[in-house]
């Protein structure tokens, strides 16, 4: 497995873990979406995400052969470009869908969480698209 595919897996796992915990706690009602509790939880989630990604990336660098860590070439650049295009459209659609909660009168804190969820979904889409394309060899 190349370093770039490992990076995509690391993104999927860490984002699912950290933001899964954040949105899970909000959805379950353990933390109220409005207030300092949510802010602290979000800060902890982001810090955990950064630390986890740093540690896992360092492990990936140590366990990936030199050729797997080489500068990305034309095929990898094409995969990165295509995956970001897919992620862009997912973000575009999910942002447009934000008009629904706005019209139902959701409070600003909820809307901010919806925006954050849109970003998380688009990041996951980019990483999953990369994994699929790397696996296919395309």
């Amino acid at each position: 497995m190349s370093f770039r595919e490992k990076s995509a897996w690391i993104t999927v796992v860490t984002v699912l873990l950290c933001f899964g915990a954040y949105f899970g706690a909000i959805a379950a009602g353990w933390v109220h979406a409005r207030g300092l509790g949510a802010l602290y939880l979000l800060a902890h989630s982001v810090i955990a995400l950064v630390v986890l990604q740093l540690v896992l990336i360092l492990i990936a660098i140590r366990t990936t052969p030199r050729d797997g860590r080489a500068r990305h070439d034309e095929r990898e650049a094409a995969i990165l470009a295509r995956s970001h295009t897919i992620g862009y459209y997912v973000l575009l659609i999910s942002v447009v869908l934000l008009f629904v909660p706005v019209h139902f009168g959701h409070p600003p804190a909820d809307l901010l969480n919806f925006v954050l969820l849109d970003v998380v979904i688009s990041v996951l889409t980019v990483a999953v698209a990369q994994i699929v394309m790397f696996r296919r060899g395309a």
Binding site: S2, D67, G68, A70, H72, D73, E74, R75, E76, F134, R136, G137, A138
Partner: protein, 69 residues
């Protein structure tokens, strides 16, 4: 989806002292995974990369790649 371009990279590597995919990748400035994808017909390289591959083996472009449709 497989592209309609056949290639002789596996045979050419064999003819050049069992050159590994990593060796070829290093010579043309690509990753081993990309060389494997080209060899398997899953990825069509750019014209520049195709010429680089032909240059490494010292053959013409159509000795490496053939259009199959």
């Amino acid at each position: 989806m497989a592209v309609p371009i056949a290639n002789q990279i596996r045979r050419l590597r064999f003819d050049h002292g069992e050159m590994t995919q990593s060796d070829l990748a290093e010579k043309i400035g690509m990753t081993r995974q990309t060389v494997a994808a080209i060899e398997a017909g899953k990825y069509s390289p750019s014209l520049e990369a195709a010429f680089r591959i032909a240059h490494v083996f010292g053959v013409r472009l159509d000795d490496v790649f053939q259009w199959t449709e």
